[in-house]
Amino acid sequence: MAEDDRPVTNLTLKSSEFRKGREAGWRALENLIGRLERRGVRDLSVEELQSLPLLYRSAVSSLSVARSIALDRNLLRYLEDLALRGFLAVYGPRIRLGRGLLGFFTQLFPRAVRQGGWHILIATLALLTGFVAGFLLVGLDESWFTTLVPSGMAGGRGPGSTRAELMQGELFAPWPGAAAAFGIFASFLFSHNTLVGILCFSLGLAAGVPTLLLLVYQGLILGAFLALHMHRGLGVAFLGWISIHGVTELTAIMLCGAAGLMIGGAILFPGRHGRVDNAAIRGRFAAQIAVGAIFMFLVAGILEGGFRQLIASTPWRFAVGGTTGALWLAYFLGAGRRARL
């Protein structure tokens, strides 16, 4: 630039001085975050990891100061982005998949279930009500069976079935072998009960009424089946047959229903929060219950496909059903009592 003989004034800006003093720290943080984002935690040394939160806090305080003293738009936006990326780096989860899932099943799921005491009670009552009604209706008049149970589910069973048919075709049908058993297991994925469970949960969004109706209906079908078998002297055998996977499956349906009722309740009675906020707060527990219940359906699918026909004795079936029930109860009451997460 050409020499200039005009007088020169010196001007120091607080914001410029501030920037000169802090810029090195920001650059260091930017470098650390960049490496963390690209190559992961292991790229940083222990000292660098220790300095990360310190640099982040100083960047956040820089942002607060800059907002009050600086009008440099580029600087402000840079600091906002740096603080946000630092926030994600410092507060983001850094957990292996295994630990995350372990945490869910040992802590979050059983805890969420314990949160839902009343809802579970109501869901159970709804199921029981349906069960008693179905049992009484079909017990009095078997023609109700065809009305209550859709033909797809009845699978040929009905008022016309004989004792022998039910014995050989259903309760004590021979084990079909690994292939078909695995087939049933796979078809669990789209199975009726899983769908019912998921519907129970999601219909909670409609204030919970459809959830209750669905639960009552499930009970109704079960009661109808029991009455049908009772009339042929197979009541106990039927209960044993269904208990193997039914204990797990019905518990899961009940939990899904309870989760749906939680969401319905949160929408009906929002309390101090707005309805959407409250649904999110309660919904977190409800979703954890529903998600855990999906895995219970998976367990039920394995039991149904693998073991139901393999174990051909009613006492043993009750033993398996009772054991699974006791295990679930112990799990829900005991797991995750000590806070760790």
Binding site: V8, T9, N10, L11, T12, L13, K14, S15, S16, R19, W26, G40, V60, S61, L63, S68, I69, L71, D72, R73, N74, Y78, E80, A83, L84, R85, F87, L88, A89, Y91, G92, P93, R94, I95, R96, L97, G100, G103, F104, A179, F182, A186, L189, F190, T194, L195, I198, F201, S202, V276, A279, A280, G283, R284, A286, A287, Q288, V291, I294, L341
Partner: protein, 294 residues
Amino acid sequence: MAKYRDASEFLEGKRSGLRQITSPEGVVLPVELASYGERAAAYLIDMAIWLGITLLTGLIAALILRGPALIYVLLIMVFTAVLIRNLYFIGFELAWQGATPGKRVLGLRVVDRRGGPLQPGAVVARNLTREIEIYMPLGLMLTPFSGPGVWGRLAILAWLAIFLLLPLFTHYRLRGGDLIAGTMVIALPKRVLLGDLVEAKLRYRFSEPQLAAYGAFELQVLEELLRARDTADSRRLRREVCEKICRKIGWTTPVPDGETMLFLRDFYTAERAYLEREQLFGKPRADKHHAEAG
């Protein structure tokens, strides 16, 4: 009155996806929500990877089993597909702090809606919910044997549509899983820190009444102009702005053509020094309408 809220809105357009979170330190940070298209693209990338892995496991299973066991291979694939997609999403979002490979490509992140730390439970919940939102209905829809009837299929279609379009109708662009897990998906910006435009030594001097003609809005628009690349266009624009400023503040000595940049930078420095001082004294000036507004 001013048409724009601030210089950023004027320069970058109104951003409908702008939201705020409050960090645990109590500082409000602006975040930009990921757009529907970005999220769809990220999801498609992840699904392509998932499909690849699933087909690979099927291929390996087929090679190991060989022979007439096609049905086994299919069954193994159906089962592993479910396992893989859940472990994939949850695993990556936990390990990569809220990003899957697809999200990473598009620069998206999952964050807590209230600005707290992203809980592992939330990650698990938001991803497993996808089973309910998409895979279950899709699986039912595609069941070849004893599938749902026409009305059933219509109901499933409606279900799918509701969940797929949900992000378009919620304030935070939430998917069903986000709604329940208390999360949202944001686009991660990466802005670089450019040099300070402040000049240490000023050739031009401006008086206080001259500087009082403008506010922060004009200052920051000027900043953008000074940072623009040096092209014929920007040179012309700078010249125009320079003349406009001269007229506005009553600068009578003509500024030579070669000194446009020098004049503007000096003016920027003086103006910023003045405005920052005023702001520090509790008299912030938003824009040139400041005086009228009183």
